[in-house]
């Protein structure tokens, strides 16, 4: 490929100071200052065997300056030079051989009167596709220099033979992708650190014996494999590597992309060496984004150009440190996970379950979770949870509908119960509506659902138990009945619940669900001290419970409260706890006197507790008479109707 390039010329030399002598183009101030400095001698003493050394660097305006510097012994002072700088657009360096081709356009002036050539630009048909190789062999320091150059460090080496240095730079330039070539700064005969603005040159090949800059850098056997491969490629271009670089590396990529591309080419994929290089030298997604995109995008090099597969996903997810180096949008994890699911659901699920516990907050795991939960059916997940009960927490946060909860209830209870409890310990994952769903399933799954709900009630987290109570209150009566029959609320749970800010109907519910013996045990605790005289704790605890409820009762709670009271009464009667029952009335009925809804409550209590016992009926009616004659009359009428 050839390209017509417009070459601008700038000539510097000595005329009572090193200065611009002629130019075909006017540079801006920043460019002019840079060229003024870099066109001067590269050190205090020129070496004739390095005459015609080359310097390349980008200009502030984006163009590229490529210069040849000759010693000027004809000048009156030592260390004077001629420097012919060619200035081309960055796009002119697209071809691998452009820099070498530009060398043909350098022209050394013969004197201060020989300046006309430099005042007009030259159109040039560059042979930019010319093959540039190190036919004399790579210098011994080549791999070492490449290793530094492409891992973000300025590279230095002593070039004993200038021709060798020039060949090396030309071959190196041919390896690079166009944008990197147009940013590449180098000098083939440096004697000190040269800079483009604040940045040191990328590569300086030093004149031997120049002090601290002249220490030979020997080829180290420890030069990385990728750098050795790159050095070999300078001698014998491997089209595969150069094609890879050309296809994957782009304008936004820093030099480190060359290191990565070579390692990828050398190791053939997401090898450990490649991954380690990636993490070490390009840890930020902003580094070498073009190359990373080419590799990691779905259907990219990692997938061998085909659709994303489960195996590549597995490769990726095994290296979360690698995943973090790539822009999530480029990585396409959601796409990859979907593709993996379509190809092998069970492998994807297995991958999900095997994910390290301490890495489960990352994006990879989130994508995997979304895919698994989004694609797996209840039975799939139930099977999964059967084997991986610790994942129930993750599942419950998203799969909390009735269909899903029913599936969970089909799981073997012990692991499921434990897992739910463990999952719900975390407030962040607590979902009250899950409890509502589970409570709603009580009639259909009386045994399992009851065990789960009671298990939740027995959890030490008070908020969980409170939400269970709230759910029960809102649930149909059949749910409560099921739980009452099947469940066994524990002593500690009751104690905790009674310390919670529950409303009266909720207290009533607790009373209904609490076995009398448990209530007795609870009453023996100091919890009831303010409410019940010490000697009566055992028997009077239910009354105290009910009393608490009555203090906060609303008109709409009559039915529920009455139901709880009746339940207590039945229990106490069954236990022959007549004294307790009497105490109930003693404690409760006077309180009713201050309540506007006492009539209906009295009716409710009477209906539920006393209609089978005539003596009791009489006592209740008498008591009711003292409180509300109308209610007592209504109660008698109702009893007559019933009896």
């Amino acid at each position: 490929m050839s390209a017509l390039v417009r070459i601008q010329h700038v000539l510097h030399g000595y005329d009572r100071g090193h200065r611009l002598l002629a130019a075909s183009v006017e540079l801006d101030r920043a460019g002019r200052q840079l060229v003024d400095v870099l066109s001067d001698a590269a050190g205090p003493e020129l070496r004739h065997d390095f005459d015609g050394y080359l310097t390349g660097y980008p200009l502030p305006d984006g163009r590229y300056a490529f210069a040849c510097t000759w010693y000027a012994p004809e000048m009156p002072r030592p260390n004077c030079v001629w420097t012919h700088t060619l200035i081309v657009e960055a796009t002119a360096l697209a071809g691998p051989g452009t820099l070498a081709a530009l060398c043909d356009h350098f022209r050394r002036p013969t004197g201060l009167s020989d300046l006309e050539f430099y005042r007009r630009p030259t159109p040039a048909d560059l042979d930019d596709a010319r093959v540039v190789t190190l036919w004399r062999g790579a210098p011994v320091w080549a791999a070492d220099v490449l290793g530094a150059l492409y891992t973000g460090h300025p590279a230095y080496a002593v070039g004993d033979r200038h021709a060798e240095s020039v060949d090396f730079v030309m071959a190196l330039s041919a390896q690079q992708w166009p944008q990197l070539r147009s940013r590449f700064s180098f000098c083939t005969a440096a004697q000190g650190q040269r800079r483009v603005g604040d940045h040191p040159f990328d590569l300086e090949l030093l004149v031997p014996g120049r002090g601290a800059w002249g220490r030979p850098r020997e080829a180290r056997p420890s030069a990385p494999d990728w750098a050795r491969l790159l050095a070999e490629d300078l001698e014998q271009p491997q089209s595969g590597l150069r094609d890879l670089v050309a296809a994957t590396c782009g304008g936004a990529d820093s030099a480190v992309a060359m290191c990565l591309a070579t390692a990828w080419h050398g190791t053939g994929g997401l090898s450990r060496e490649f991954a380690d290089l990636l993490v070490a030298h390009a840890p930020s997604p902003r580094q070498a984004p073009g190359f990373k995109r080419a590799v990691f995008r779905p259907g990219g090099l990692l997938d061998h150009g085909r659709a994303a597969s489960a195996s590549t996903l597995v490769d990726l997810l095994r290296r979360p440190d690698v995943v973090r180096t790539v822009d999530p949008a480029d990585l396409g994890l959601p796409q990859r996970v979907v593709a993996a699911w379509e190809q092998s659901p069970m492998e994807t699920v297995r991958l999900w379950t095997q994910w390290p516990a301490d890495e489960r907050t990352g994006e990879g795991f989130e994508a995997l979770t979304t895919a698994v939960l989004g694609n797996a059916g209840p039975r799939d997940l139930a099977d999964l949870l059967r084997h991986e009960p610790e994942l129930i927490g993750v599942v419950l946060t998203t799969k909390d509908g009735a269909e899903w909860c029913a599936a969970w209830l089909e799981l073997p209870d012990p692991p499921f119960g434990r897992s739910v409890a463990a999952a719900l310990k975390s407030a962040a994952r607590w979902r009250p509506h899950v409890v509502g769903t589970l409570v709603g399933l009580l009639p259909d799954y009386p045994d399992r659902a009851a065990r789960v709900v009671i298990g939740l009630l027995n959890l030490p987290e008070r908020a969980v138990a409170a939400s269970v109570v709230a759910a029960l209150r809102a649930a149909p009566r059949s749910c409560v009945d099921t739980l009452r029959i099947r469940g066994m609320i524990g002593e500690d749970a009751v104690r905790r619940l009674l310390q919670a800010p529950l409303d009266p109907p909720e207290l009533a519910l607790i009373a209904e669900l609490t076995p009398p013996r448990v209530l007795g045990v609870v009453s023996a605790s100091e919890l009831w001290l303010p409410v019940v005289p010490y000697a009566w704790r055992y028997t009077h605890a239910p009354v105290a419970l009910l009393s608490l409820g009555l203090r906060h009762m609303t008109p709409f709670d009559d039915e529920l409260l009455g139901r709880a009271y009746a339940h207590l009464w039945q229990r106490l009667r069954a236990d022959d706890a007549q004294t307790t029952w009497n105490y109930c009335k003693l404690m409760v009925f006077p309180q009713l006197g201050s309540k506007p809804q006492r009539g209906s409550l009295t009716t409710e209590l009477g209906r539920r507790t006393g209609w089978r016992d005539a003596e009791e009926r009489t006592r209740i009616a008498a008591a009711a008479e003292t409180i509300d004659p109308d209610a007592a009359q209504a109660l008698r009428e109702e009893w007559l109707g019933i009896l």
Partner: protein, 289 residues
């Protein structure tokens, strides 16, 4: 003198003798035959640059110009009457100062040189005066022509000549640079020695250095005389000791006898005298401008 650090900057346009003076100065520090009041105690850590210019100087070869992108690092430990001090005296390319005149922008390196030093050696060279024709000369020439030819018009005026710093009179350039320095230093006082290079060729025809300066560079001389913030002295220096020619005769002269300085008050003195004066060392020979 207590154990202190002295920073002295060398200012001057290209080809005014800064590097040659530095080489001769370094030789005087190291050469036991030179009766200089200061001697070197510790060699600089990075002596490559100094060794390069010293070798050229000792072999009576031009020291070579300092490249634009290069800054000769000179920092050494010296002793004076038993006290030690550190002298930092970087050598910058004259082109950098010239670029300031042309671009009207002070790069960071030049800014550091102009501002962050305790004293300054300003180099001027008789060969670089770049004197231009004065208006008074033109009037006198016109009058002469008219007297001879009877015509009133003189030669056509030069128009459209492109501005070039290399054509500016040296004294105008130096005053401009010193004004810039004064502004950047916000009038902070300092010592400033003017060194007239190649004094061996000037030969004292115009008298001692201060009178030479007043006669040949009146603008600079008057500026210095009226710059209240500057404590000035004028030296003539012959850093090479004479002209280098193809015969190599200068190389046969003992290095300790080649370089010297001259001041009005003290006559011929050793080449380190300007630095000693700028550093404020006791007993330094001076002649205030």
């Amino acid at each position: 003198m207590s154990d202190t650090s002295v920073r002295i900057a060398l200012l001057g346009l290209p080809q005014t003798g800064k590097t040659t003076y530095l080489a001769a100065f370094y030789n005087a520090l190291c050469d036991p035959d030179v009766a200089a009041p200061i001697k070197i105690v510790t060699l600089p850590e990075q002596a490559t640059y100094l060794m390069t210019i010293l070798r050229n100087w000792q072999e009576a070869r031009p020291t070579g110009r300092t490249a634009t992108g290069e800054q000769g690092r000179v920092e050494m430990r010296l002793s004076h009457e038993g006290d030690q001090f550190t002298l930092a005296m970087p050598d910058m390319s004259g082109e950098l100062f010239e670029n300031v005149l042309r671009e009207r922008v002070v790069p960071a390196a030049v800014y550091t040189t102009l501002v962050e030093h305790d004293a300054y050696l300003v180099f001027v060279h008789p060969d670089e005066l770049r004197d231009r024709i004065l208006l008074t000369d033109v009037a006198a020439a016109k009058a002469s022509v008219a007297a001879v030819t009877g015509q009133r018009s003189g030669p056509p005026a030069t128009v459209g000549e492109e501005f070039a710093t290399k054509a500016l009179p040296l004294q105008a350039s130096m005053v401009d640079l010193l004004q810039a320095m004064a502004e950047l230093r916000q009038g902070a006082p300092c010592r400033l020695a003017v060194l007239i290079s190649a004094w061996d060729r000037v030969g004292g025809a115009d008298g001692p250095p201060d009178r030479w300066l007043a006669a040949r560079m009146p603008l600079l001389s008057q500026y210095l005389a009226n710059a209240a913030h500057l404590d000035c002295a004028v030296f003539g220096v012959s850093a090479q000791g004479g002209v280098y020619d193809d015969s190599g005769a200068m190389a046969d002269v003992r290095p300790s006898e080649r370089a010297y300085a001259v001041s009005a008050g003290a006559g011929r003195i050793d080449i380190t005298a300007p630095v000693c004066w700028a550093a404020g060392l006791a007993g330094a020979a001076v002649n205030p401008a």
